[in-house]
């Protein structure tokens, strides 16, 4: 049923443009992995290579160790949920879901039970005779999902399946997708540019940019221990300042920057050339009593340029020399624009990223 996927040094060009510049990774059977990156980073191209719609120029794609580069899409036993849902407009819901069973030559006697089981899983019971155009976006996506799982594929592929849904529905359906995948135990690859979605849904995130993989990690580490400037900045929001390493003592690394000296507690850094200091807006703590700042923190002082009430949080944009840092604090604070203000960033919440 479920397979181990290996992508080995896959390269692909469109004319002069290299969409994939040698991508390698492995996904264990039954895992939910997200390819995350901005538009044009090669994530959909990679997904289409795995599905067999595109042939890599170089490199191999292996299902359970077997090379599938030459296997046509209809023989790969993958099932893909498309961004556009791609429902067959001339078929009703029942026939849409049945299509894969017919193509896979599943005995007729099994069709009805399997289709209704799939429809029940996605909450579409009783909609057999509806036409795709009679359904809402969320329902259409559920049909697409049922159509995928009914064939019991070895690999589930998702190409930004939720991007056409509204925010609330997106959250609901993504939980459903995750539950369904867990229940069925099918290896899944999910393409998205939405970092919140990636963090919420994945066992592992593969962050991509310009056709290369920037980091492969579990969601918590991707966010807390971003490997480089791109990942830190793309996943969530990061405050970044270029720095140069001065010295270290036991736990602490001392880094000089144009915004002063930072003490960083980060045991995960790989190198100390070409680095930036990074921290998250939500790790900035307002310092109300300047005479007694909290211990174990870097202090960042600047002029409050904007103070934006977001409802659940208050976002403060702080001008410090040539840089603007963003702080996200509890909504109860009143931090007036135009005043000088100091924030504290715990040593343990600052880290070193490459770039």
């Amino acid at each position: 049923m479920s397979i181990r996927l290996t992508v080995d040094n896959v390269k692909l060009s469109y004319g002069d443009f290299m969409a994939l510049k040698g991508v390698s990774f492995e996904i264990e059977s039954g895992k939910f992995v997200t390819l995350l990156g901005p538009s044009g980073c090669g994530k959909t191209t990679l997904l289409r290579c795995i599905a067999g719609f595109l042939d890599p120029d170089e490199g191999n794609i292996l299902f359970d160790g077997k090379r599938v580069n030459d296997v046509p899409p209809h023989k790969r036993n993958t099932a893909m949920c498309f961004q556009s849902y791609a429902l067959f407009p001339h078929k009703n819901i029942y026939e849409n879901i049945r299509f894969g069973l017919r193509m896979h030559k599943v005995p007729l006697s099994e069709h009805e039970a399997r289709i209704h089981e799939a429809m029940e899983m996605v909450g579409l019971t009783g909609m057999d005779n509806r036409k795709p155009y009679e359904l809402s976006g969320g329902q259409q996506q559920r049909v697409a999902l049922a159509r995928c799982v009914v064939v019991r594929p070895d690999l589930l592929l998702f190409d930004e399946p939720l991007s056409n849904l509204d925010a609330k529905l997106r959250e609901k359906v993504r939980v459903e997708i995750r539950d369904l995948q867990r229940k069925l135990g099918i290896t899944a690859i999910y393409v998205t540019h939405d970092q919140a979605e990636a963090l919420a849904i994945s066992d592992t995130i593969i962050a991509m940019n310009h056709g290369v993989i920037e980091q492969i990690d579990e969601p918590r580490r991707i966010y807390d221990k971003s490997a480089n400037r791109f990942v830190a900045d793309f996943i969530g929001t990061a405050n970044l300042v270029k720095g140069s390493f001065r010295e270290r003592d036991e736990l602490n690394l001392v880094v000089d920057s144009e915004n002063g000296t930072f003490i960083v507690q980060d045991d995960d850094y790989k190198e100390l050339d070409d680095i930036s200091v990074a921290w998250r807006p939500e790790d900035m703590v307002p310092v109300l009593d300047k005479e007694n700042p909290p211990a174990g923190c870097n202090l960042v002082t600047g002029i409050v340029r904007n103070s934006v009430y977001m409802g659940e949080r208050l976002d403060v944009f702080l001008s410090c020399g040539n840089n603007t840092f963003r702080a996200s604090v509890a909504r109860d604070y009143l931090i007036p624009e135009g005043t000088e203000f100091t924030f504290a960033v715990p040593f343990s919440k600052t880290r070193i990223v490459k770039g």
């Binding site: 599905a51 719609f53 046509p72 209809h74 498309f82 791609a86 429902l87 001339h90 026939e95 193509m103």
Partner: protein, 287 residues
């Protein structure tokens, strides 16, 4: 309190379009129908109600013409779609379509009469086709293709003229089938042939029907091609109408033929429309 429904003055904007078409359709239908009953005469102005022409028109030559024209139209529509559909599929996948497609469309823009002359010259008794076939010793005697009783020349010219016309419709219909839907079908286990059968074909069958209807009507009502390349007997209906009016000076009977031609055209339009709807529904249930 009930609100009175106000007249929407916006409907008046439709007058230039619908009014124009409606006016001319009604006028010409009125002229044709009243002429067939002797109630309209544009030449002498003498009018008198008569059913004489309606009694005379339904003779053997009319039925021969009707049958001949129907046969030609059906054969042309079916053969044209049989050529166009696979050709459109091939073209859609071909990299050379950028220059092949305009090339294929050329006959559509050439006037029927000119095309007719062109092809007649090729297939005539001592035309290029016969000469080459004799030279290659494939045939001994030249074949009579032009003005033959079966209307072979007419059929060939109509197909030559109608394939490009159908191509304009079918190419965009096939091109219009979304790639993600086809990809999805492949992903779910369909090979190219099954994608064609289960996806492309059902999604383009209504366009194919439309192009068959239009080709049928174009062929059924043609005058230029059948008058240059068609047989002396039976004449196509348009030819019969023209001959009746101009050669026999019998405008009343010609009016009857005109009415009958229009009725046949309308019957086929309705028939095809019903068929199209039925196929569309059937396709969705089972295809």
């Amino acid at each position: 309190m009930k609100k009175r429904k106000k007249f929407d003055w916006g409907y008046l904007l439709l007058i230039p379009g619908i009014g124009y078409i409606g006016f001319f359709v009604i006028i010409s239908a009125y002229v044709m129908i009243s002429q067939s009953f002797g109630l309209y005469n544009a030449i002498t102005g003498e009018v008198a109600f008569t059913l004489e022409s309606w009694k005379n028109v339904l003779d053997k030559s009319f039925f021969d013409s009707l049958w001949f024209t129907l046969q030609i139209s059906i054969v042309v529509s079916l053969v044209s779609i049989a050529i166009t559909y696979p050709l459109a599929l091939l073209l859609q996948k071909s990299k050379a379509r950028k220059w092949l497609l305009p090339l294929i469309k050329i006959p559509y823009f050439i006037p029927g009469l000119v095309g007719s002359f062109l092809i007649v010259n090729l297939i005539d008794y001592h035309g290029l086709l016969n000469e080459v076939l004799i030279l290659l010793k494939i045939i001994k005697e030249p074949m009579r293709l032009r003005n033959d009783a079966n209307g072979i020349a007419v059929i060939i010219i109509h197909i030559w003229k109608n394939v490009p016309f159908m191509m304009i419709i079918m190419f965009s219909a096939i091109e219009g089938v979304r790639q993600d839907i086809k990809d999805c079908a492949r992903n779910l286990g369909a090979n190219s042939l099954k994608v064609l059968w289960h996806i492309t074909l059902p999604l383009t069958v209504s366009s194919a029907l439309v192009s068959v209807i239009l080709t049928f009507i174009r062929t059924f009502n043609d005058y230029a091609i059948s008058s240059t390349a068609g047989p002396m007997y039976p004449l196509s209906l348009s030819n019969l109408m023209k001959t009746t009016a101009y050669t026999y000076d019998d405008w009343t009977t010609a009016g009857c033929i005109g009415v009958l031609m229009t009725i046949v055209t309308v019957i086929f339009m309705v028939l095809y429309t019903i068929l199209g709807k039925y196929l569309k529904q059937g396709g969705s249930k089972d295809a």
